[in-house]
């Protein structure tokens, strides 16, 4: 299955869309500290949110070519980091990078 790594997110093509709530917000992951985030942009993209094991996950139903972009939250200008990645039509899962907390023995999402 196709996979695209865009910094601390991985976009992976999947076969079917799971049960999820549609959302208008195209911000897939928001970074901390430097006012930036990973956005999906396209003319015909359906964005969904599902709760998987207590964590919100994005799913995308991309109907025409779209792009993953790393933009400033305020101005929506490109941050200069992580070039755009073109994504062909299909269904995709967005996976956030994570790390292990050895003291709480939990897994937490990486915030950058």
């Amino acid at each position: 299955m196709k996979q695209f790594r865009h910094g601390d997110i991985l976009i992976e093509r999947i076969d079917t869309l799971p049960s999820a709530q549609p959302t208008e917000n195209n911000l897939l992951a928001q970074g901390e500290g430097r006012n930036h985030g990973h956005y999906i942009e396209g003319d015909d993209v359906e964005i969904y949110l599902a709760n998987e094991s207590g964590t919100e996950s994005h799913f995308l139903n991309i109907k025409t070519d779209a792009k993953i972009r790393h933009l400033k939250i305020d101005s929506k200008n490109w941050t200069g980091e992580h070039h755009d990645i073109s994504i062909e039509p299909g269904i995709y899962r967005v996976i956030r990078q994570r790390e292990f907390d050895p003291y709480l023995r939990t897994i937490r999402i990486v915030k950058d």
Binding site: Q3, F4, L10, G31, G33, N35, S75, I95, P102, K111
Partner: protein, 335 residues
């Protein structure tokens, strides 16, 4: 002893601002009674004053007053001038000017100083007045770059008053709470706030330490030998943890955590990945601590991510950070 010039590339110094006339102008424009002006020299004093009042109601009111002022600025100042520009110049010229003039002030003042101060204070962005705002400096640079075009008198007056603007303001119906600019701001070559040995933002009696645009604890600079393993592990922001790594140095960082190299390899992009493991079992976690040092394919920044102790090599560790095994983690594109 290093020369200061080795540490950073740009320094900006400012004298205290005097924004009384600016706020009178803006409140008059929005047909609001002129407010009391409360100007604070540093974030701590501003927060102390705000904490005395009912914070939530101040912020809600500020958001509403900010919108009223913004509407007046757009309608009476910005729109007539933008209309004149779009009538006189073609789209490509306007686009080029915007890219040329807007970027640097936005990077220095909004992304840099303002956002760092907002993050430091925890003030909600919706409470920060849209005018005056550091973005006005970018906007002003853009508008005034059309030298052939006369700027209308009222807008010209506003631009002149902006020279006395504070760093940020919270405008309520009766009072404006302002935070003045830092006396000294230091940036690196890419115009990210940065200083290798001192605070990058120096307010009067209040310093903010910033490393390549990321605010970090002062302890990293004032008492790096007192940084503990627990402090590094409990820092959940990967950017900030990267700062620990860069400021302390990889060797010191690994020594502090008492780590040995368990595995290393070159990734598909030619970057060195290392899997570190603690020399002994951690007394609190009751197991070995393991970290993957990975390199961002786009920025080349190095990150230390904690991974479970059962992983044996770098490939397994990186795949695990995306919930994958080496067999099913094969990105077609990485950036």
């Amino acid at each position: 002893m290093h020369q200061e010039q080795d540490f950073y590339s740009h320094v900006e110094e400012r004298k205290p601002s005097s924004p009384r006339a600016l706020f009178d102008f803006l409140y008059d424009l929005a047909e609001l009674p002129r407010p009391e002006l409360l100007l604070f020299e540093n974030p701590s004093e501003l927060l102390h004053q705000l904490n005395k009042n009912e914070l939530r109601s101040v912020f809600v009111e500020a958001s509403s007053v900010s919108r009223s002022i913004a509407l007046a600025v757009i309608k009476q100042l910005a729109k007539p001038q933008i209309n004149a520009i779009t009538a006189a110049f073609d789209y490509e010229t306007i686009k080029e000017k915007r890219a040329e003039k807007w970027q640097l002030p936005a990077l220095k003042y909004t992304d840099g100083i303002l956002n760092t101060a907002i993050e430091h204070t925890g003030i909600p962005r919706s409470a920060i007045s849209l005018h005056p705002h550091t973005d006005d400096l970018a906007w002003m640079a853009f508008i005034t770059s059309f030298k052939e075009l006369k700027i209308n008198e009222k807008l010209s007056q506003y631009f002149n008053l902006l020279k006395q603007m504070p760093l940020l303001s919270i405008c309520t119906k009766t009072a404006v709470y302002c935070l003045d600019w830092p006396m000294k701001s230091t940036f690196n070559q890419n115009w990210l706030l940065h200083h290798e040995s001192d605070a990058a933002l120096k307010f009067t009696n209040d310093f903010i330490y910033v490393w390549k645009g990321v605010s970090v604890t002062s302890k990293l600079f004032t008492a790096p030998n007192k940084i503990t393993k627990e402090e590094i592990i409990s820092e959940q922001n990967a950017e900030r943890r990267r700062c620990y790594l860069e400021i302390l140095g990889a060797k010191k960082f690994a020594n502090l955590l008492e780590l040995d190299i368990r595995h290393s390899e070159i990734d598909a992009k030619g970057n060195l990945q290392v899997l570190y493991r603690s020399r002994d079992k951690d007394l609190v976690a009751k197991e070995f601590l393991q970290f993957a040092k990975v390199v961002c394919p786009s920025t080349q920044r190095e990150y230390f991510l904690c991974v479970p102790a059962y992983l044996n090599n770098c490939t397994e560790a990186v795949a695990w950070t995306f919930g994958k095994t080496p067999e099913n983690y094969k990105p077609d594109v990485e950036t």
